[in-house]
Amino acid sequence: MSVATQASAVRRSPLARLTITELRLLLREPMLVFWGFAFPVLLLIVFGLIPSFKQTHAGYQGQTVLDTYVPILIVMMLAMLSYFALPTVLASYREQGVLRRLKTTPAGALRVLAAQLLVNFGSAVVMTALILAVGRLAFGVPLPLAPGIWVVVALLTAAGTLTVGLLVAAVAPTGRVASTIGSIMFYPLMFFSGLWLPIPSMPPVLQHICHATPLGAAWESFQSAALGHWPPALALLTMIAYPVAFGLAAARFFRWE
């Protein structure tokens, strides 16, 4: 097969077309573009300009406050995409009969699900790279010392937030309900990742709770990887247990119509 026919085969592939379409639709949602894409980077720049965020801190193993915020922003971006973008779109597609309509075509409804996952995964990869790059280039935040472990942690984190999002998409009857459930989950879970108060500054009881939540365990694991070692076993277990549990629940409850 020549390159040209390969390229046209890709252009004609229903999954590729659906993915491009879903990406276009995502970029047409100003709220999602702002909160999912622009906001994490803006926040990084604001934090980077605060002098005290550049100081190392006793409880942070030689890291600056800003260093510890980079993984929090990545976690926040993943949570935005998984808790809001994905379930809102999927629940409204089901509500409006978009999935049913696709079931009558050769593409099938499963491909839309795949296209949504691809778009969100692609967005997450690009955003992660952007946050790391801005942190490193503009504010001297060191790149992770154990990149391999860091990537594993990032994938587990994405799996954790994504399966929660799929479960929301599975149980929410409408897009509006999905986005409400998303926001009800987003704020407390982000609190436990240290968005408002860094975990090391929390009282011990709260710290323990944080480590048992998906986003708190994610932050802890990112920290370990940034400093060059594997996360503690408990954090890793937490990060594996949540996606398995939520993934099974999502698969159990998901409805096409």
Binding site: R17, E29, S92, V98, T104
Partner: protein
């Protein structure tokens, strides 16, 4: 002509609710086949089984020799569906939707030509949510035809459209048939079926009550006539009701509507003349499919009631 769709003894229940009790029909190639009936009669469930969206409890369905459940992938290539209350993403544009849907098929139709035919050529960059009801329905027809199907199943196509948009849509459906596509049309508008359909299956309570051409169905009740007039003086209902030809009298303000059979017109005019009353603004209506529908589904009710313990 050989049948392109064969449905035999279809049955489908949702829990205790029997949506389709026993439905059989065949659709010939190139015809517009109407499935008519009141809400809840089982029309949509029937076509959803034909489309492969639902699995029948029992009975057999063959669409161009394919089993809608087992040969689903192949069926979707040859059967285009327009679903009731199915939308597109709000911000998806018309041309994007057609381009996307075309990419699903082995041998798609030329969607730009479809847009032209359906009068949406200047709407290519309009998002779905900005389309009017009629435009949404036209897009929906275009999407059902995007794959160049041999059969198009259109469910409640004109519900919610204004009369003009409805008539425009009817012309489009005739155009679709003229392209050689067999059309299955689900509707509860008798006028629509009368205008469009070659044959009609009247469905009520999950069963086929009658299956014939619209004209033949109307003829079956053609003995029934409706006479409407404004009497020049007061008329006693009993005067008309006593006539053996009269089956019903309804008053709408000072207009009297008499229904009856046989030579009912002559009988009514004679009795009025004998009482020195003139029938002003006299109008006589022949039975149409609507009357046939009411009469036939009513009969069906009576039959069922008679069977009950």
């Amino acid at each position: 002509m050989s049948p392109v769709i064969e449905v035999r003894n279809l049955r489908k229940a949702y829990g205790d609710t029997v949506a389709v009790a026993d439905i059989s029909f065949t659709v010939a190639e190139g015809e517009i086949f109407g499935i008519l009936g009141p809400n809840g009669a089982g029309k949509t469930t029937t076509v959803e089984c034909v489309e492969g969206l639902r699995k029948p409890d029992s009975g057999e369905i063959s669409v161009l020799g394919l089993d809608p459940i087992r040969d689903r992938a192949e069926l979707t290539q040859v059967l285009g569906a327009q679903l009731q209350e199915s939308q597109l993403p709000a911000k998806l544009r018309v041309a994007e939707a057609l381009d996307l849907y075309s990419s699903f098929y082995r041998a798609p139709a030329d969607w730009r030509a479809l847009l032209e035919v359906l009068g949406l050529a200047d709407k290519g960059s309009t998002p779905f949510r900005k389309l009017s009801g009629g435009q949404k329905q036209r897009l929906s027809i275009a999407l059902a035809l995007a794959g160049g199907p041999r059969i198009a199943v259109l469910d409640e196509l004109t519900t919610g459209l204004d009369p003009q948009a409805r008539r425009d849509t009817w012309e489009l459906i005739e155009g679709v048939r003229d392209r050689g596509v067999t059309v299955v049309l689900v509707s509860h508008f008798m006028e629509e079926a009368e205008r469009l359909c070659d044959r009609v299956a009247l469905i009520d309570k999950g069963r086929v009550v009658e299956l014939d051409t619209p004209a033949a169905l109307a003829e079956r009740v053609a003995v029934a006539q409706r006479i409407q007039f404004r009497p020049s003086g007061p008329v006693d209902d009993a005067l008309l009701a006593d006539l053996p030809e009269v089956s019903g009298i309804v008053r709408k303000g000072d207009v009297v509507v008499v229904t009856g059979t046989g030579n009912v017109l002559n009988a009514v005019i004679s009795v009025l003349a004998r009482n020195q009353i003139v029938a002003q603004q006299l109008r006589v209506d022949q039975a149409n499919l609507e009357d046939a529908y009411l009469e036939l589904t009513g009969e069906h009710d009576a039959r069922l009631a008679g069977q009950g313990e």
